[in-house]
């Protein structure tokens, strides 16, 4: 169903809606001025729209009151965390009520023995791990945006991060959620217990991109901090040698905590930014981290070094201390900031390919980018085949956005054709909604729509994301009306 259809028959007067919400939560939590509705028009993608009302929820009761009002008036609503999403998942439907969870930022309880914590959705990812570090535990998903992204947003997008290779993405780290369903009812999905009765609705809510309701409290799994960590930087004269080493390591029965790759243009950009002595002369570098008790770490380092030799590794640098390790990771995680030295704008893609296709698909990406007269930096989670081609450009160049989007679509198609998937961790949102038919048939998509309708029969919770409307199923087209890319 398109937004026009959703709105058909709903001649909603937002002034009345604002008045009603101001009656159910504190008036100062409700904003409808041009400044706020403009500020909340977008997330970290290049798409934007216009919010109708912005509400700053402070409790489950606030969220419930707002959602009940939205349901009563038939107005779409959208929960928003830190707005760091890159796929347009938090671009509001036109005139929607934006429910900001940034003020719901309390860590409610921590159980260091059973290793779980209840948090509000606005708690920032890295803040949680920092606050509980003294207990010897951490929250494993670590997106590059972890300083600013929220746990609620991680739940909505089933976020990943470098250290999800060994420990799994967000879904594996969520025990339970208190949610406000789109009709305003409140329930707990999942539980602290391992086998709650019924369907795994916790599992389907994670990654539902805000379309199944709003999570208001989240019970996360905490992982023990490892006693030993070894961080290695290995460089290669050819991208394919580095990429092939990744498969060798996994086939040898080693699953490192993280395996990240940076190609030469990325190394140059990052080195200019952090001066870490990165191997800028080389075609690619792998950042590999193994963790655990000392014996296992030493054995893994030795075996990986041996495998690397067989792939013509150049230099092998092992971080001598925490400071050097932090510097190497800073290089990896600040890559997206560092590119400002090359061009003022970037478009970051996110696809996954089988590990043994990394080398082939990277070659295709370089060819695609050349064909569209663009530049690309590759910095990505090589261990799980999760590519992040970063197209850099100057947005002021006439016609450049057309080239960027054409190259992006070609990259996504090359990934899916290689046996991969549309997105590894950023989600579908608006960005890839109309590319879903590359991966799913009409029947497959109808089943996903069935699940969505069971949660949200009136399609009010963040509508028009993820699923292409039936009319466009089977064809690829541009972003929806009202959004600009």
């Amino acid at each position: 169903m398109s937004l026009d259809e959703i709105y058909a028959g709903h001649d909603v007067d937002l002034v009345e809606v604002v008045a009603r919400i101001r009656g159910v939560i504190r008036p100062d939590q409700v904003r409808d001025g041009a400044t706020e509705t403009h500020l909340y028009r977008r997330d970290a993608s290049t798409m934007s729209n216009k919010a109708g009302i912005v509400c700053f929820a402070e409790s489950t009761a606030d969220v419930q009151a707002i959602v009940e009002t939205a349901a009563e008036f038939g107005v779409p609503f959208m929960a928003r965390g830190s707005g760091t999403g890159l796929a347009g998942g938090a671009v509001p439907p036109p005139g929607a009520i934006v429910i900001s969870t940034t003020k719901m930022n309390k860590i409610i309880s921590v159980d260091p023995v059973s290793r779980m914590a209840w948090v509000e959705p606005g708690v920032l990812n890295l803040d949680l791990s920092k606050q509980i570090a003294h207990l010897g535990v951490h929250f494993a998903p670590d997106p590059s945006s972890q300083q600013t992204c929220s746990i609620g947003g991680n739940v909505a997008n089933n976020s990943g991060g470098p250290h999800c290779l060994a420990d799994g993405v967000t879904n594996a780290h969520i025990h339970a959620m208190e949610v406000v369903l789109p009709d305003g009812s409140v329930t707990i999905l999942g539980g602290e217990e391992p086998e709650p009765d019924g369907f795994d609705l916790r599992g389907v809510f994670v990654g539902s991109e805000g379309m199944f309701g709003v999570a208001t409290k989240i019970c996360v799994r905490l992982m023990q901090n490892p006693p030993e960590v070894a961080t290695m930087l290995m460089d290669f004269a050819s991208v394919s040698d580095g990429a092939d080493l990744v498969s060798d390591i996994i086939a040898a029965g080693i699953v490192p905590a993280a395996v990240e790759m940076m190609d030469q243009l990325c190394l140059i950009a990052v080195e200019a930014f952090i001066h870490a002595g990165l191997p800028v002369e080389q075609a690619a570098a792998l950042l590999i981290e193994v963790v655990g008790p000392a014996g296992g770490v030493a054995a893994d380092v030795a075996r990986i070094s041996e495998l690397a030799k067989a792939r013509n590794v150049g230099g092998v640098r092992i971080a001598a201390d925490d400071a050097e390790r932090a510097l190497l990771w800073k290089g990896r995680k600040s890559a997206f900031g560092a590119i400002a030295n090359i061009k003022p704008d970037y478009y970051l893609h996110d696809t996954v390919v089988p590990r043994n296709k990394l080398s082939d698909v990277l070659d295709q990406i370089y060819a695609i980018v050349k064909e569209h007269d663009l530049q690309v930096l590759n910095v990505f989670h090589a261990g799980d085949g999760n590519l992040h081609p970063l197209l850099v450009f100057d947005g002021k160049e006439p016609g450049v956005y057309e080239r960027v989007h054409a190259a992006g679509r070609a990259i996504v198609k090359a990934s899916v054709d290689a046996g991969g998937v549309l997105s590894g961790e950023h989600g579908i949102g608006l960005e890839k909604r109309d590319l879903m038919p590359l991966m799913f048939s009409e029947t497959d998509l109808a089943a996903q729509a069935d699940l969505r309708r069971a949660f949200d029969p009136h399609l009010l919770s963040n509508p028009d994301k993820v699923l292409p409307s039936p009319a466009t199923c089977g064809e690829i087209h541009r972003a929806p009306e009202g959004a600009w890319i």
């Binding site: 059973s114 779980m116 089933n158 993405v169 879904n171 369903l181 009812s185 409140v186 329930t187 602290e192 391992p194 086998e195 709650p196 009765d197 019924g198 369907f199 795994d200 609705l201 599992g203 389907v204 990654g207 379309m211 023990q224 996994i250 086939a251 029965g253 699953v255 655990g292 008790p293 014996g295 296992g296 054995a299 996954v352 089988p354 043994n356 989670h381 799980d384 085949g385 999760n386 046996g419 998937v421 997105s423 590894g424 961790e425 579908i428 890839k432 879903m436 991966m439 799913f440 048939s441 029947t443 497959d444 089943a447 996903q448 069935d450 699940l451 309708r453 069971a454 949660f455 029969p457």
Partner: protein, 294 residues
């Protein structure tokens, strides 16, 4: 596989009540539903991808044997079929370290109520493309669709593993040991499974005075209870020997059936809506209600 997913869909059909059975180790069909069997056989194993594709009717033990040749495994409890294990959704006693078994399912082609084949998920270890129908299928006991084939994520078999016993308090071991694979407790004795580099395992065992034993303890099979792990302490007053609890996880293997529980009405409505969307005629595994039946 001995039949394709399309052939399996043909057997499932689109109108009459139908039930799927594997090796019959976990459940038997009720009423007069026609019985079908899911495809059996391993399609491929990709060791460098740590993935395997097989028919849902393939015995878990066959998959374990085939993967062991590559030094890999799946976190499924032994016995029965892959589809049966996924339909029930119970993890094995190594969940503390391996995580929930449901996370191993990457992709499936299942047959829906209308007889159509639906693909859920994707073939790679990382994937957030669309809503997660794989999670919906795991534990749904065949009431929303019948699994045809599956792609599973494997994990390496550790270089070394060893079971131990101890008379130490299990929570002391849970806190002190680094990522033990399993900590079991019957109110008197604690059992611990450690995996990894042999030197590390020996060192940790010595540090905590653990005594090596041949194998895991037998588990009572009268009932499978699910409790918040923090509430397992309440079992201190239970009769020793009446249970074996998975410390840090919350599964309790008990001599008595699990006490009945009341479903939350909001959950009940949501379950009914999902069942209504996926199987409007109620033809799939009739008589099974995942929310109210243990």
């Amino acid at each position: 596989m001995d039949l394709t997913v399309d052939e399996f869909a043909g057997n499932v059909g689109s109108s009459d009540p139908v039930a799927v059975v594997g090796l019959g180790t976990r459940a038997t069909p009720s009423g007069n539903a026609r019985v079908v069997n899911a495809p059996v056989g391993i399609d491929w194993i990709q060791p460098a991808e740590m993935t395997i594709q097989c028919g849902a009717g393939t015995p878990v033990d066959d998959v374990a044997e085939a993967l062991a040749e590559y030094g890999q495994q799946i976190p499924f409890p032994p016995g029965g079929t892959i589809g049966g294990a996924l339909a029930v959704g119970h993890s094995g006693i190594r969940r503390l370290a391996y995580g929930a078994m449901r996370d191993a399912l990457l992709q499936t082609h299942y047959v829906g109520s209308s007889g159509k084949v639906v693909k859920a998920g994707g073939p790679t270890v990382k994937n957030v493309s669309g809503f997660d129908l794989c999670r919906l299928m795991v534990g749904s006991r065949g009431t929303l669709g019948f699994l045809g084939d599956v792609i599973l994520r494997t994990r390496p078999i550790s270089a070394h593993e060893q079971w131990f016993t101890s008379d130490r308090d299990p929570w002391e071991l849970l806190i002190g040991l680094f990522r033990p694979t399993s900590v079991l407790w019957d109110g008197a004795t604690t059992w611990v499974l450690l995996e990894g580099h042999e030197g590390d395992v020996v060192e940790m065992a010595e540090a905590y005075g653990l005594d090596p034993i041949e194998q895991a303890p037998g588990l009572p099979s009268g009932g499978r209870w699910s409790m918040p792990p923090s509430e397992l302490e309440s079992l201190r007053v239970a009769q020793p020997g009446s249970f074996v609890a998975e410390i840090g996880v919350g599964v309790v293997h008990h001599t008595s059936p699990r006490p009945p529980r009341q479903a939350d009405p909001v959950q009940a409505q949501l379950h009914a809506r999902i069942k209504g969307e996926f199987d409007p005629t109620g033809r799939l595994n009739p008589g099974v209600d995942v929310l109210t039946q243990i």
